[in-house]
Symmetry: C2
Subunit: 440 residues, 2 copies
Amino acid sequence: MPGKANGVGVQVEDTKICVVMVGLPARGKSYIAQIAQRYLQWLSIPAQTFNVGNYRRNDAPHPTADFFDFNNAEGERKRRAAAEAAVADMLRWFRSGGVVGILDATNSTKDRRKWVHEICDANGVEVLFVESVCDQEDVIMANILDVKTSSPDYKDQDPEEAANDFRRRISQYEKVYKTIDGDGDEGDYTYLKIMNIGKQVIINRIQDYLQSRIVYYLMNLHIRPRSVWLSRHGESLYNLDGRIGGDTMLSPRGELYAKKLPELVRESDDRSLTVWTSTLKRTIATARWLPAHYNQLQWKALDELDSGVCDGLTYQEIKDSYPDDFVARDDDKYNYRYPAGESYRDVVIRLEPIIMELERSEDILIVTHQAVLRCIYAYFMKKDQAKSPWMNVPLHTLIKLTPRAYGTEEIRYEANIPAVSTWRGKGSTAKHEAPTGDTM
Amino acid sequence: MPGKANGVGVQVEDTKICVVMVGLPARGKSYIAQIAQRYLQWLSIPAQTFNVGNYRRNDAPHPTADFFDFNNAEGERKRRAAAEAAVADMLRWFRSGGVVGILDATNSTKDRRKWVHEICDANGVEVLFVESVCDQEDVIMANILDVKTSSPDYKDQDPEEAANDFRRRISQYEKVYKTIDGDGDEGDYTYLKIMNIGKQVIINRIQDYLQSRIVYYLMNLHIRPRSVWLSRHGESLYNLDGRIGGDTMLSPRGELYAKKLPELVRESDDRSLTVWTSTLKRTIATARWLPAHYNQLQWKALDELDSGVCDGLTYQEIKDSYPDDFVARDDDKYNYRYPAGESYRDVVIRLEPIIMELERSEDILIVTHQAVLRCIYAYFMKKDQAKSPWMNVPLHTLIKLTPRAYGTEEIRYEANIPAVSTWRGKGSTAKHEAPTGDTM
C-alpha cells in the first residue's frame, strides 16, 4: 500500500528506535532527551522519554549518594528494578505505535548497555546510544546548581547540602563509568558521542534515515545563550480586505509598524541581529528600516502557507466557491491541504531546514507570516499540532523567545499601532473577528 | 544590504572554505572530492577541486614509487612545489569569488597540514580537513585497480607492473602518514574523519552552517552498489492540451504507460525497489501498477515546479496575459520565478533533502514531473544550470542511473507508447514541438 511521507518525508511506521542516553550525572542528558523529543514530535514522529530516575523515585524518593554506591546491593537492586520497569513501559509503548523512545538514564556500564541492547534487539527495536561527555567545569557546575534546585530528589533540602550530596553521587558513578568504546566490544553499536556539547562528535554505524536525522539534529545543538525574535509583517492591504495569501504591500498602519520595528528590537536587546524574511513584499518591506549593519536574508521557505486555488479570496468567497473545502479545513486544519496548495503539515516539512539552521545560529529575527509563525512558535513552545493552526498571532507585536535548559522563555513587545485581527474562529467567515479562547 | 538566500538558504558570499583532503593513496579521496564538488555546484555554491597530482605531473609525468620516498630530496622538492602551485591557484580562485576550494592530495604529515592551515588562515579562508581512513582490503584493492588503469601516472604501462609500483608508492606514504589527532596539536582544527566510507565518522569543531552542510552530506555517503530510476508520469490530459501545471489524470496513452511501467522496471533489473512519487494524481496513477511489495512514498517536495498565476495556462495564454514574464523566463529560465510560484532554483532548494535521502538510500524509483526530473538528473549528470531547464525529458521513458566512482552511468528504456512532446524551445508558444538541439 502506498504510504504517506511523514514529517521528515520518510515512512517511519516500521522503524522503532530506542535512543539510549549515556553519561555521568550533570552532563546534560535530560536536556538532550527533552529537545530531541520536542523536535521529533514537531515532525509528527511519535516520541516519548522514559526517565529511569522517575521510576526509581517510586521506591526511593530522596536517596543520598550512598544509594548510588555500586557496592550497595540494596541500592543496586532498586536501580536495576527501575531500569527494568522503564524499559518494560517503553516496549509496551512501542507496541502501541511508538517510534522513538528515549531512555534517559546514566547507562554508565558496558553491562547495562549490553542488557538494553539485547532486550531492544529481541523486540525488533533499533538502538542508538547518545553519550554526552563533558569536562567543562562551568557546564557541569551549572547542571549541578540546576539539579539541586529543581530535582525532586532534593525537594525541600538545603541547597548547599544537596549540591554536596549530588557531587558525591557523581563520584559514585565515576567509579564504574565506562565511555562507549568504538574499538572494543561496543564497536558494532550505533552511537553518537557528543563531547563538550558539540565541540566534537563521533558517529558510529548509523543505519537509516531517521537515525541520521536525529544525529544531525543533535550534532547541531549548542548551549551558547541566544534568542529568536518573531514578528509578522506589518498590516497589509489584503489584511484590510480580509483576503488570504497574495503579495500585497503594507497598509499605512503596516508602514508605521515597519518604522517602529527597529525601536522595538532595541528595547528588547542591544545585540546585533541577523534578519530573515520571506520572499514576499510585505515581510521585506517590514524589515527595511532595521539597521543597515544587520545581515538580511530572504528565504522562500518562510513564505506564507500556499492557499492554492483560494489565494486572494476572502473566507466568505472560499465558503461560496469551495464549500466542501471550507468545512474540511475547519475539521482538520493541520492536515487539510488547499487544492494546488499546502497544509500546515507541509509547511512544517519545509520549515525543518529553518529549524535546523536556527538551532545552529545565535540571534535571529524572523519576519514572516501568520501560519509560518504559528509553526515556528509551536516548535519552541511545544504546542499541540491540533491547536497551533488556531492560535492568535497578533499583528504589530514582536515576540522574543529565549531557549533555556527546561523550556523557552517568552517576552512580547507591543508596538501599540492598531491593526485588524486576522484570527478566525472555526466556521466563521467574518473578515475581522475578535480572538477568543486559546491564544498563543 | 539584503542578501538573497542562496542554494542552501544561507548567505555564503563572505565564507571561504578550503576542504583539505587527508589520507593514504587509494582511500577514495578523489571520489569524495568529486562528489562534494558536484553537490555544492548543484546548490549554486562556487566549488572547485585543486588536485596536487595534476600540478606535480607537469614536473614529473610518470614517476615511479621511488619518487615518493620521503628521503628522496628531489622528489620531495617537486612534490612541495606542486602543493605550493595548487594552493596559490586556489587562493587566486578564492579572490575571484570562489567559496569552497577542495585541495585533493594526501596531506599525510602534520607539517604539511600545519602549512596549509597557516596559509589559509592568513588569507581569511576557513579550513575543513576531510580524512578518509580505510582498512578494508577490498575497497583499497578496487581503488588500486582503478588507478592502474585510469591514472595518467601509469599511462601506456603494463597494468601488473603499474599496480605493483602503486603498492610501493602507498608503502612510501605509510612510512610518514600520521592520522589527524584530536587529542594532540590538531585538536583545534575543524575536521571530519571518515572511517571505512561512513561506518564511523568523527566530527571536530564545526564552525558554521556551510561546513555543517558539507559534513552532513559526506557522512551520508556510501559505496554499496545501487541505482536510481527516474520516470515522468504518463501523458496527462493537460499534456494533451499543452497546458502547464494542474492536477489532471492520465490520458489513455498515459494509462498504457502506467500499465507497462512494471515490465520496463523488470527489464532493467530484478531487484525490489522503493518508489517515490509526488503528491499529484498523475504520478500516483503512473506508479499504481507496480508490484504491491514495493514500498511507495509520496513527497510534496517532488511536486512539479509551481507556475503560480500561470498554472493551467498554455504558453500562448501566458504570452498573451503576462508578456513580460514570458520574455523574462526565456531570458533566464533557471532563476525566473513565476508570480506566486517557483523558479528552477527554488525547486533545487526544496529537492536538497531528496538528494540527501537518495545518497543514503539504495534502489529508488522516482516518478515525478518534467522540471523536477531535470533538476535531479542535473545533479547526477553534472549538467549546467543554464542548460538544464531546456533539456528534453521525453514522456514514456524510464531512465536508470547508476553512480560509479568516476561518474554516473545511464541506460534508457523506451516504452514505445506514443506521447505528445512537452519540450518547448526558447520563444516558442507551440503546444507540441519537436525537440531540437541539446537533449539530456
